[in-house]
Amino acid sequence: MATIVTDARFADAAPGTAVRHSSVLVRWTLVLIAVAFLGLMLILPLVIVFCGAFEKGWQTTVAALTHPDARAAIRLTALTVVIAVPLNIVFGIAAAWAITKFRLRGKSVLVTLIDLPFSVSPVIAGMVFVLLFGARGLLGPWLGEHDIRIIFAWPGIALATMFVTLPFVARELIPLMQAQGRDDEEAAISLGAGGWQTFFRVTLPSIKWGLAYGTILCTARALGEFGAVSVVSGHIRGETNTLPLHVEILYNEYQFAAAFSVAGLLVSIALLTIIAKSIVEWRMHRSVRRDMDGGPAAQATLDRVGSGR
């Protein structure tokens, strides 16, 4: 095996290795513990899913994925993503703009409120919509009279998904736009640009990687949300089952190979998600580095990010 070089930024005969050097024994022990823990907790579950998916041969796998119920679940999941993600992107941009581009009291309250859906249990997230729109909920009777179905139908699923994925884009953009400040926009406007021009030509290019990052995370969660959706779905096969719910039904019916096949599809998407996320992260760092070479203003931006102001 190759040797371990101490310290991330100063690897390979860089200054400062004399002091930050830990003993070889300590290094290898720590690395082995880390690898063992992550292997057990993360890699083993992945392997098990794929093993389960192909246990009965690939024909079963394909059959499970092309079953009409599975196809319906894929369609509903896609519909949910198509509704929830764009709306949350618009919200994220609007909220970040309102919070970071203006002097504003109560800023931190708003930022905290945006984080709220993350700290609420998904079951409660689904439940509040049942309490509001369910048959015995507040608006239930009125909705019943007008024959509008929200709970146990796709609108409820979309609402619950929007609730749990609401913060993703906003919480990525707020710190980023906060760090970038207002100077660029003020410069653009002083040069005669309008509001939309300023946004599309000045702001958007500088936040695109942050936006991509938030969108990826938002999409992944929208695809995979289980708890909140489970509460409002009603589990009607071929109608109100998203992919994760479909996995649950198959599993509870002891159709393990089919359940793991659909799970395998979701795992593949998850792996693509984290790969895309790493790429975006890398691009983001690179663009920050490039800005840094850009001069003192960019350096000041980094300093401000660093000190968290």
Binding site: I4, A34, M127, G195, V231, I274
Partner: protein, 278 residues
């Protein structure tokens, strides 16, 4: 609540539009639905609340959820700190892949994690079988629940600690060395105090996530009332019985706990910012 702009008018347009949309969207989607829960809670009598919370089933569920989440977050705090250290300080083959994989629990649907962990830790599974021989029941027991909770909350401590560890000034560690401190003293007295706020923030986030977790836990827990039934599942059961007041009563405490955790995380983050390396 009023979010008034202070000082002079900004030259940047769009305040009304963006603030209006944000507040409206958030109200419709989050605030109004959550207040519905408050409305239902307001209708509860003290008698109903008392019945709910004196019931041994409710108490057992809360004990299990809180205790399990605490242990899971604790395990993740210890291993998260260690993994963050290894990922930041050491170079070894496969480091990048490991670093990327850490985010998996955020990207993987919880139901998938649930069935996979169950397959591993059930008595027929590869690890479950080994543990079974040793007389330890993993799946369908509190241990299984803790494993699932630890899985979903695994990235938090690592991701909050990594950047702080990365930013620790090389000079500060060198200063400790020139003053005669050994590696352990430098870690305990200089590095640990600097990253502690970040570790605690990650711990609180992991705890908040684990307490509310549903998808990954229901498969592995076995869902026996009073023994392996977590709070979110109890809420779910009450909802399926159309017992909305019962569900509301159980959910109320969990929601209040979430608010408290949110507040705690905010305070911790403010502290972390203050003590971040210069």
């Amino acid at each position: 609540m009023r979010f008034a702009r202070s000082g002079r008018r900004s030259v940047i347009p769009g305040f009304r539009l963006t603030m209006g949309f944000s507040v409206l969207y958030m109200s419709l989607l989050v605030l109004i639905p959550l207040s519905t829960l408050g409305l239902w809670a307001g209708r509860l009598s003290w008698q109903e609340l008392w019945t709910t919370f004196s019931a041994s089933r409710t108490l057992a569920a809360y004990r299990l959820s809180l205790g399990g989440a605490l242990i899971a977050a604790g395990v993740n705090a210890v291993f998260g700190l260690l993994i963050a250290w290894v990922l930041v300080r050491y170079r070894f083959p496969g480091r990048r892949i490991l670093d990327t994989l850490v985010d998996l629990p955020f990207a993987l649907p919880t139901a998938v994690a649930g069935i996979s962990l169950t397959a591993i830790y059930a008595p027929t599974g590869i690890l479950g079988g080994l543990l079974d021989k040793a007389g330890i029941q993993a799946a369908y027991s509190p241990l299984g629940i803790i494993i699932a909770m630890a899985f979903v909350s695994l990235p938090f401590v690592i991701r909050t600690t990594q950047p702080v560890l990365q930013d620790i000034d090389r000079e500060v560690e060198e200063a400790a060395a020139t003053l005669g401190a050994n590696r352990l003293q430098a870690f305990v007295r200089v590095i640990l105090p600097a990253i502690l706020p970040a570790v605690l923030t990650g711990f609180a986030m992991a705890f908040a996530r684990a307490v509310g977790e549903y998808g990954s836990v229901v498969f592995i827990s076995g869902n026996m009332p009073g023994r392996t039934e977590i709070v979110p599942l109890l809420i779910m059961t009450r909802l399926e019985e159309y017992n909305y007041p019962g569900a509301t009563a159980v959910a109320l405490v969990l929601l209040v706990l979430s608010f408290m955790m949110l507040l705690a995380i905010n305070l911790l983050q403010a502290w972390a910012r203050r003590s971040a390396p210069v």
